[in-house]
């Protein structure tokens, strides 16, 4: 990697972002992801070359309004069908390891 190139994102940044995203990276991955993410962010710097001050952000191509339906009960997928494809289940719910770290 070109040492003169500005280091946009550090290994510490990548490690922090990975923890926010619930991903665990080993040292090699940390190294290569830092280089690769930096390259994308260096490219993205071209956005700062345009004057965007008068432009509102667009979050969606359609002028979306909230879409509501009547609050009436209707048929949905049965609980049994949903639970049958879960990794682990109880009779009526999803089963997960302890949340507070204790049994």
């Amino acid at each position: 990697m070109d040492n003169n190139e500005e280091q946009i994102i550090s290994k510490q940044d990548v490690s922090y972002v990975a923890s926010l995203a619930r991903l665990d990276l080993n040292d090699d991955e940390l190294e290569s992801f830092t280089v690769q993410l930096s390259a994308v962010l260096v490219h993205a710097k071209d956005l700062s070359s345009i004057d965007l001050s008068d432009l509102p952000p667009t979050s969606h191509p359609l002028a979306l309004k909230n879409v509501f339906r009547l609050d009436t009960a209707r048929e949905s997928i049965s609980r049994e069908e949903v639970l049958s494809v879960a990794p682990q289940r109880t009779e009526t719910g999803f089963l997960v390891p302890p949340i507070l770290g204790e049994d």
Partner: protein, 482 residues
């Protein structure tokens, strides 16, 4: 260069549907014939992750029974179709080409699947793709890369590479893919088939596993315009299960009367003409000449913001992906790794379940959305999106359609761009702008390069002009090779 093109004769969807509807051939015969084709070529091409032979045979049986009972069959009677593996089919494993969903069988159908079944189509399998539709080569699949049928050493493009390859090799006449930044058009270009990204909201996304929700759109692959129209007519329309589905007062016309090219105003985007390979530049020039001869008015136009679309896209799409893919945590579906507590379980599941490209994009998106960087990255990208929409709208006040190549180069070698994500991202440079704008665009095969690899041209149009795209694509197809 080893090719698997022309191993089988091409049977169009419309001709199959017509024959099955008249009882000249049974849906089961057609199904068996196509399952046999898939069986004989899939080991070379790896176009399918799952072949749904049981479902296909039971659908064919139902269709043949309907015919025997004197019922009228649907518009896709007995037509075999491939479904990209990020669209859920009840009871058929849906993996998104990821280890994290391996073995998951969805308990419901996507809206497009219900519509296909209603139309008497036969779902023969789930096609290969880049994991969670993130990629431009189908190399980022947990189930191995798909090969380009024109040259087995090359990629079919991506992310819908399996669908494109399956149609190109005549394993199926039609297929569904999804397009977030070019994932239908780019593989269609690399494999020499038609591929349409419809107007955003034209086809329901219910049951499409979300990558970047404001950009994703399901669309068709085919070899003839008639088949494109047939499939689009079946899958499009309002769906109350998708709050971003367009609710038309009048359904957009997909089958306009023969488009008169005379007087058609065609814009050539100046910014897309830089850095083309000479073969692609020649194809574009030929197409322009054909249109001119038929009476079209050609105008060079400038959309300066397209230069910034790649950057904007690689912030917006990962940002949305980082949020959408938070749901894969090992709790409700898919794979689970062990952990001492729930958080360790989630970290272990995601770390082992996601491939590198998906991890890269999740982290990029998480970074772009994080405190201190949101304004500089995510918000700037959204402002560029506004600029792009405004510039397109200005250009469309003086031209009817835009014409460009679909890709800057033809299909590249397997492995060539794997270590350099930025280089890979550049293959979507011409397809991304229409996703940001929400407009429709189509790939039309037009000529080939010196090695015989297909070249694709892209026609773009304003929102809801999908029918117009099909008509103009039809004209170009009729001119190819003339």
């Amino acid at each position: 260069m080893q090719s698997r093109i022309d191993t089988f004769k091409f049977d169009s969807a419309s001709s199959i549907a017509s024959q099955v509807s008249k009882g000249r051939v049974s849906a089961m015969e057609i199904t068996e014939q196509h399952l046999a084709r898939i069986k004989s070529l899939n080991s070379d091409l790896n176009a399918f992750i799952t072949v749904s032979d049981n479902l296909a045979r039971s659908q064919a049986e139902k269709i043949d029974k309907k015919f025997k009972n004197g019922e009228t069959l649907g518009p896709l009677a007995g037509v075999p179709i491939a479904i990209k593996d990020n669209i859920v089919v009840r009871g058929v494993e849906t993996t998104c080409a990821s280890k994290i969903l391996k073995g998951w069988t969805p308990p419901y159908n996507a809206t497009v699947i219900d519509k296909l079944i209603e139309a008497d189509a036969v779902i023969v399998g789930k096609s290969n793709m880049d994991e969670f539709a993130m990629g431009s080569s189908t190399e980022h699949s947990a189930f191995g890369p798909t090969k380009n049928p024109f040259d087995l050493d090359r990629v079919p493009g991506g992310s819908s590479g399996g669908s494109a390859a399956a149609v190109a090799a005549n394993l199926v006449p039609i297929a569904l893919g999804s397009d977030t930044g070019g994932s239908i058009r780019q593989p269609a270009a690399f494999c020499g088939v038609l591929g349409l990204k419809p107007t955003y909201g034209f086809v329901s996304r219910y049951g499409l596993v979300a990558f970047a929700s404001s950009l994703d759109q399901i669309g068709p692959f085919a070899k003839t315009i008639e088949d494109m129209k047939l499939l689009m007519t079946v899958i499009s329309g309002h769906d109350s299960n998708d709050s971003t589905s367009l609710n038309f007062e009048t359904t957009p016309v997909l089958n306009p009367s023969k488009t008169d090219i005379k007087g058609l105003r065609v814009g050539i985007v100046k910014e897309f003409n830089e850095g083309l390979t000479s073969n692609i530049a020649v194809s574009l020039k030929n197409a322009i000449e054909k249109l001119q001869v038929a009476g079209a008015v050609i105008e060079e136009v400038s959309i300066p913001s397209v230069k910034f679309c790649l950057s904007a896209y690689y912030l917006i799409a990962p940002a949305e992906a980082s949020s959408n893919l938070a749901r894969f945590d090992g709790v409700r579906y898919g794979a689970r790794e062990n952990g001492d507590n729930v958080e360790q379980m989630m970290i272990a599941t995601r770390t082992k379940g996601f491939g590198d490209e998906v991890k890269r994009r999740i982290m990029l998106g998480t970074y772009a959305l994080s405190k201190g960087y949101y304004d500089a990255y995510y918000k700037s990208a959204q402002q560029v999106r506004t600029l792009v929409i405004r510039e397109f709208s200005k250009v469309y006040s003086s031209v009817d359609i835009l014409l460009s190549p679909t890709t800057p180069s033809t299909a590249f070698k397997i492995g060539e761009k794997l270590d350099d994500p930025m280089e890979m991202y550049l293959s979507d440079i011409m397809t991304i702008p229409t996703n940001l704008a929400g407009h429709p665009a189509i790939n039309v095969p037009f000529g080939s390069d010196d090695s015989g690899l297909p070249i694709g041209l892209q026609i773009m149009a304003p929102a809801l002009k999908d029918g117009k795209l099909l008509s103009i694509a039809n004209f170009l197809l009729s001119q190819e090779g003339n």
